[in-house]
């Protein structure tokens, strides 16, 4: 799948309390969570984010708590993919398990790109291309994780394994 969207740039160590503060965790609805997503560091984000936009971040994105509300809030905001230099491990597995597309790319994209510029991403190939035609390669997922992603998340994956009907 190829996606094109406007880029939001974030720096290193964006933690889950910044992605969605704990005081909003009494809801599990993606659209409700999205209304407060990243408001602490980027008040414009929940107001101006458009469906299909991408997040480009530095190292250790999603560090902190295990709250799945973090990928849910990002998904609820309409973000099509999060690209980071690295992800904190629980966020990484939560994204895979819940079907939020993520890519790990060692290039300093948060320095190289300008906020708001358009980016094209080929999710399967992990290929990222900016407006000037510069290309960056993201790290491929191991086949085991790719399977979970292809099945549409961990729940669908388990359902397949148990031979339960899709719902």
């Amino acid at each position: 799948m190829t996606i094109t969207g406007k880029v939001w740039i974030l720096q290193d160590d964006v933690d889950t309390d910044l992605i969605i503060p704990a005081r909003y965790l009494s809801s599990t609805k993606p659209e409700k969570l999205a209304a407060h997503c990243l408001e602490g560091i980027c008040p414009r984000f929940p107001l101006e984010v458009a469906p299909g936009d991408l997040i480009v971040a530095g190292k250790n994105f999603g560090c902190g708590s295990s709250r799945e509300h973090a990928p849910l809030a990002i998904k609820g905001a309409g973000i099509s993919c999060v690209i980071a230099r690295s992800f904190a491990r629980i966020f990484y597995r939560n994204a895979i398990n819940t079907g939020l597309p993520i890519l790990e790319c060692t290039a300093e994209l948060s320095q190289l790109l300008t906020p708001g510029e358009e980016l094209t991403v080929d999710l399967e190939q992990g290929l990222i291309e900016d407006r000037q035609g510069r290309r960056y390669q993201a790290m491929p997922f191991p086949p085991f994780m790719q399977q979970i992603i292809n099945d549409g998340g961990l729940i669908e994956h388990v359902r397949k394994r148990l031979d339960l009907p899709a719902r």
């Binding site: 005081r23 809801s27 599990t28 295990s66 799945e68 629980i90 939560n94």
Partner: protein, 421 residues
């Protein structure tokens, strides 16, 4: 066969394999799966969506409503109700109601649910705490918990291991919290990302189980998948009379391969304070001295255990909380609360002018019981001081152990405990 670390051995057992190596992706059997009032409702929703009729084993699931309880508002009440009803329906053995409940990572070891060699997953990042008892324990998300409740399994990438050796004898007022804050300060918030942290050396061996649990609790703050301490005499004494389940302690081989080894001499370590907004901003307390604070919180899964309360009481005895400061003390579990009551600690706190709360996560994550206003500063014995963690995005949180926290509550500024006692 090359030597293996404790975690590699435990994961091999869980995967039904002779051995596993770092980097391998494996499926393991889970001995205990944990959720709380924030993460379990999401997991329960996913579990129901899966369409499985029964949980894999009602005795191997623990559900603890500890974050927003006693219910802080209507939405929290609804979430707690989801846990309660699910627990009743599936006859979940380890469900703890308010009044018997405690902060999960203090509660589970205390209740004898954790033992060496076990594989524990928790839909809460601080599930890494249980490594202090020689278990493999790690935080996962709600969807993982849902799958584990259905299958009794979880997928993992086998982590490589970093070894941390702490040499020397700890000075007075320096404990597990100072060791781990210092460590995170040295390696940074992603210094152990994806890796296991083996904590050892005489300074760690000299710690009580309470102090050890504080250390492994914060492995996640260095990005670690788990932190662990190999079982020894202290572990055995702690487990004795607490754990009925038979267990087999697992140890790292002497020739085990570590990705890196860090050695620290901690004989002269000062009490540590982590400045806003990162647990890795740790510095000796001297560098924080004089910083005025509005609130002090003593509690949480990091430092709300009996030993922590004893240290705080020792400092607060005969003193009063500074007029400008609000001191909030939260024993981490009902049993700790009772012990603190019986040992007269609560009386010391109340007489000093502290607010003492029933067990809850409360202010640790800015939930309730002490949320900060814009511009306010708190010193807390909790584990995170991210932007907005305890309330307003313009509030600030400093982290320390219970000794510095208690001393600072008396003076109103961040203070070395030696100056108060």
């Amino acid at each position: 066969m090359a030597g293996k670390t404790m975690v590699e051995k435990i994961l091999a057992r869980g995967a039904g394999r002779e051995e596993v190596s770092p980097g391998e992706l494996i499926n393991v059997k889970v001995d205990l799966a944990l959720g709380n009032d924030i993460t379990a409702p999401v997991a329960i929703k996913e579990f129901n969506r899966l369409g499985v009729k029964e949980v894999f084993d009602p005795d191997k699931i623990a559900l603890v409503p500890d974050h927003f309880t006693p219910n802080r508002d209507l939405a929290a009440a609804e979430q707690a109700k989801v846990l309660r009803e699910f627990s009743r329906y599936h006859r979940i053995k380890h469900y703890y109601e308010v009044g018997r409940m405690g902060v999960e990572h203090a509660l589970l070891p205390e209740q004898g649910l954790i033992w060496p060699g076990q594989i524990v997953i928790g839909a809460d990042s601080h599930s890494c705490t249980y490594g202090a008892l020689g278990a493999f324990a790690t935080g996962v998300g709600s969807t993982d918990l849902a799958a584990a409740m259905a299958l009794g399994e979880a997928w993992f990438r086998v982590p490589s291991t970093l070894q941390f050796i702490y040499r020397g004898v700890l000075p007075p007022w320096v404990g597990g919290k100072d060791l781990i804050l210092y460590t995170i300060g040295q390696i940074g918030v992603e210094g152990a990302r994806y890796r296991a942290m083996e904590l050892c050396g005489e300074a760690v061996e000299a710690l009580s189980m309470d102090g050890r649990l504080t250390m492994t609790n914060m492995a996640i703050e260095a990005g670690g998948k788990c932190g662990y301490i190999q079982p020894d005499r202290v572990t055995e004494e702690y487990l004795d009379g607490r754990v009925e389940h038979p267990y087999q302690p697992v140890y790292s081989d002497p020739e085990a391969l570590y990705e890196e080894v860090y050695a620290f001499d901690v004989s002269n370590l000062e009490p540590q304070v982590a400045f806003p907004h990162s647990p890795a901003n740790s510095r000796p307390v001297g560098e924080a001295s004089g910083i005025e604070i509005d609130q002090v919180v003593i509690g949480s899964c990091t430092n709300g255990r009996l030993e922590d309360l004893k240290v705080a009481a020792q400092i607060l005895q005969g003193h009063e909380v500074h007029p400008r400061v609000r001191l909030i003390v939260i024993p981490a579990t009902q049993l700790i609360y009772r012990q603190a009551l019986e040992e007269g600690l609560l009386e010391i706190f109340v007489k000093a002018g502290a607010a003492v709360s029933t067990p809850t996560c409360g202010p640790c994550l800015g939930g309730h019981m002490g949320v900060l206003a814009a511009g306010e500063k708190a010193l807390a014995t909790t584990n995170r001081n991210f932007i907005g963690r305890m309330g307003h995005p313009e509030s600030k949180v400093y982290l320390s152990g219970p000794a510095v926290a208690a001393a600072s509550a008396v003076t109103g500024t961040i203070t070395h405990p030696g100056e108060v006692v």
